[in-house]
Each structure stands twice: as C-alpha cells, then as structure tokens.
C-alpha cells in the first residue's frame, strides 16, 4: 500500500482531498478478500454482513471476489445496528435500514462484519450486540475499507483496506458506485459550525 497521506495539510474551506482512487479501492478489496481466504481456510463457513449504508455494497464486492477465487458462492447480507446504538438519545429517532441475514444463518459460522470507516468503534460494538440476538457465530471478524483511528472502545479490525491517520476535526467520506455513483475515499475538514459527532454522515463509525 501507499504511504499514508499527510492529513494535516488539508485546510478549512479547501475541497476534500482524494486519498483513495477507484483502482486503489479495488486493489484494497482484492487484498482483503485474499486475507479472508488465508485466515478462514478458503472462506469455508464464512458469512459477510455489511453494516448499512456503505458496508453493504462492500460486503457484496468482497463476496464476489471470494467466489471468483474459490469458485463457490459466499453468502453476503446486511445488518442494521440502529436499534443497538448507544447514541440514539443524542439525536432524533432514525429510520431503520434493512437487515438481511443469508439463509445459511449465522449459527456456528464465521461472521465477517464489513463497514466503510472504523472510527470510534461504537458502530461495531452495536453490531456485536445485534449479532448476539441473532445467534451464536463461531467467530466474528471485522473488515473495514478505512481505519481512521481515534477508537473509544477496545475494538480493532482484522482486515483493513487503508490505515488513514486523521485528526478528529477531519471527515473521512467513502463514496461507492452503488450508492454515490462513483468510487472514492475523501478527506475533508469538518465545518466549524457543525456539532461534533453529527457531521461526517455515514463516516462516523
């Protein structure tokens, strides 16, 4: 992978800087897919669960790559964690996203949670609680496209597309073709007026 871009050069008001191009996102996902195959002996009993919104298309893309290499389908689905979040009372009630557990279920499987950005770790904690109500997987692993640091909980990713050192003033935006019409990872600066935590849209994970 490339050396981390120096995030501190981004000034307020300047347009967001592109830190990952489409080809780099694709290469990172291919590498993650191979790491999953290595660590799970050929992705046997693996279920990929994307966390909405952008974790879901990422999980689908990883499943495609796993299928290309292994020649058999790997189940992929989505897991909405809204009802398990610890910050529900800090904001107005949010609409729920779709949860779709593949027909194989998660009982006894190796669940790989997939999200776009790993930040505080609170989304992943919520996802672990949600999984607990769905069944008992043999193991749970975490794959993220970007790890931007600043963890608030003892959580780490098993598979990381890119480690991106950031300051908390910055916003990491992941754009994906399925949702946004193009692939890119951008680094911008949070507008000073926005309350902390609310900005960054989906990138608050």
């Amino acid at each position: 992978m490339h050396a981390a871009h120096d995030a501190r050069d981004t000034n307020a008001g300047s347009p967001p800087k592109v830190v990952l191009e489409p080809a780099e996102i694709s290469r990172a996902l291919t590498r993650i897919a191979h790491e999953i195959l290595e660590r799970t002996s050929g992705a046997r009993d693996v279920v990929l669960l994307g966390i909405p919104t952008r974790g879901v298309p990422l999980a689908r893309r990883l499943a495609q790559r796993l299928e290309q290499v292994e020649g058999r389908p790997v189940p992929a689905g989505s897991l909405d964690v809204t009802m398990y979040r610890d910050d529900l009372r800090l904001r107005p009630a949010r609409a729920l996203r779709h949860t779709e557990i593949p027909p194989t279920g998660i009982e006894g499987m190796i669940v790989v949670l997939v999200d776009d950005v790993l930040y505080s770790g609170r989304t992943v904690r919520a996802a672990l609680d949600a999984l607990g109500d769905l069944g008992r997987p043999r193991a749970v692993q975490l794959a993220v496209l970007v790890d931007r640091g600043h963890r608030e909980l003892p959580i780490r990713a098993d598979y990381v597309g890119k480690n991106l050192p950031t300051s908390q003033r910055e916003i990491v935006r992941v754009l994906l073709d399925e949702v946004d019409g193009k692939d890119a990872v951008q680094l911008g600066v949070r507008p000073p007026a926005a309350p902390s935590g609310a900005a960054g849209g989906e990138a608050h994970s």
Partner: protein
Amino acid sequence: MNRHLISAADLSLDDALLILDTADELAAMAERPVKKLPTLRGRTVVNLFYEDSTRTRISFEAAAKRLSADVINFSAKGSSVAKGESLKDTALTLEAMGADAVVIRHSASGAPHRLASWVQGSVVNAGDGMHEHPTQALLDAFTMRRRLGRLEGLRVIIVGDVLHSRVARSNVHLLSTLGAEVTVIAPPTLLPVAVGNWPCSVGYDLDAALPKADVVMMLRVQQERMNAAYFPTVREYSRRYGLDVGRMGLLPEHAIVMHPGPMNRGVEIAAEVADSARSTIVEQVANGVSVRMAVLYLLLGGSNAGAEQS
C-alpha cells in the same frame, strides 16, 4: 414526527411512510430467536385504559416489552378512578412516576389531546370515544401494503357503523394521505353528519361497490354506543350490510377482507368469511405489534430535543 400521536389526520405522507417502513423492518424481527431489542431500555410506557380492550392493550404491552421498555398497566376499574379521581390528577400521578409515554384509551373524544397538555412525555391515542384510533389505521394500512404490495390507487371500501367508529375516521384520513381511494358505505342513519367533509366518497349500496374493491373493511356494529334505533333489526342490517359468502363472491380475485375486531360473527361478517383465506383478521393482530413498536420507537427512541424530525 410530532411528539404525540393523537390523530391519523396529523400524519404527513412522510411520517406515515416512515412508520410503515420502520414497521416492515421490525416485523422481520418477529421471526428471530430473540424477539427483543434493547432500544427503549430504562424508558417507561404507561398503558392508561379507561375503556375495556383486549387486543389493543396487549398489543401495546407486547410492543413496549419487545423494545425493552418498562410497562405499567392501568385500567380504570379497580383504580382510584373508581373513587372519582379526575383525568388530570391521574395524569399528574403518572407524570410524577416518570412516564416517558402514555398510551391512552378513553370513552371521551379528545381525552388524549387534553392529556398531552398535562404531561411531559409522549401521548399515544389508543382510541378516544368516536374520534380516532390512529395505530389501528396504521396497522390496517400496513396489512394492505403487505398483502397487496401498494397503497396508492387502492380502492378501499369501509362498511358499517361509520358513525360510532373511530377506526373508520382514522382510516379515511390516513388512507387518503397515503393515496388510496376510500368509499364509506353505511345506512344513512349510521353516517356522521360531517361525512361530506371527509376525504372520501359515500355510498349506500354494498353490492354495487364490491366488484370494484381491492379491500373491504367491515366495521363492528357498536351496540354499546347506540342509544337510539339506528336500524330496524339486526337481521335486516345483516341482510343489507353484512358480508356473507355470497357477497364475498362479488369481490375481485385478489381482494382482501379486513375487520378491526372484535367481530360480531353473523352480524356484520359471516363466520365463513371471517375464517376464509381472504380474511386478514389474524394477520392484523400480528401486524399491530410491529406497527406499535414502530410508533413507540419513533416517538421515544431519539432525543426529546429533536422531536421535530427533519
């Protein structure tokens, strides 16, 4: 969404769709091994029932418990209401106990509206007199959408005791917001005076309306509210406005039969019809829990300050 749910007429199209979509996701949860979510942990929901009710009270209780809220049930019988306590004093008591939401059923139209001005928490109307029963309308719309796949352009006929029915009023308002075409059909004595102002059309001939209907909703003849002779005999009512097997045959192939319950079998609906495959009556009860979970989540799940949702 507003902080309270008093009337289906207050719901915008966006609010109504948000509730239905949320209920859709929550309905999927009913098939899980653990049918419980931690979302409303530590919140208190009071069921304040001044009128008898089985399914609505149980449904709200199940919904609140599946969201991990604490539920306090209060029925007027055997409480200090029997000793003459006023609604306001009861409300202040609930307030002091820290109720985050009050689900109220009352025989007086407008009671939930009054209650909303006395308590800090959210008020959910579970039926007030002859006024409204918004969660019933929401679960009816939810059931129609699940069975028929859409609401827009759906032709719905609501048949029977419209005058005494809060279910009919809530359904007419909600369904017209959601884009359905509603017709109410009843004997002229069982239509409210102001029905001309409702967003629906009015008919008197059930047989003529059935062949064009996607949904037929039968209302209970509310004899407990009838203080005058609205029709000559029950048999005559049943012959003209009851849904029997012969009438059901007039419906298009895909049409469904709904009833908010409790039914008077043999009066407004024949037993064979109520138990037929077209009938959604049992489904409506199951859907009621999902819809009420959605309402409680959307009213209580977020911050109070942000109650005015964008």
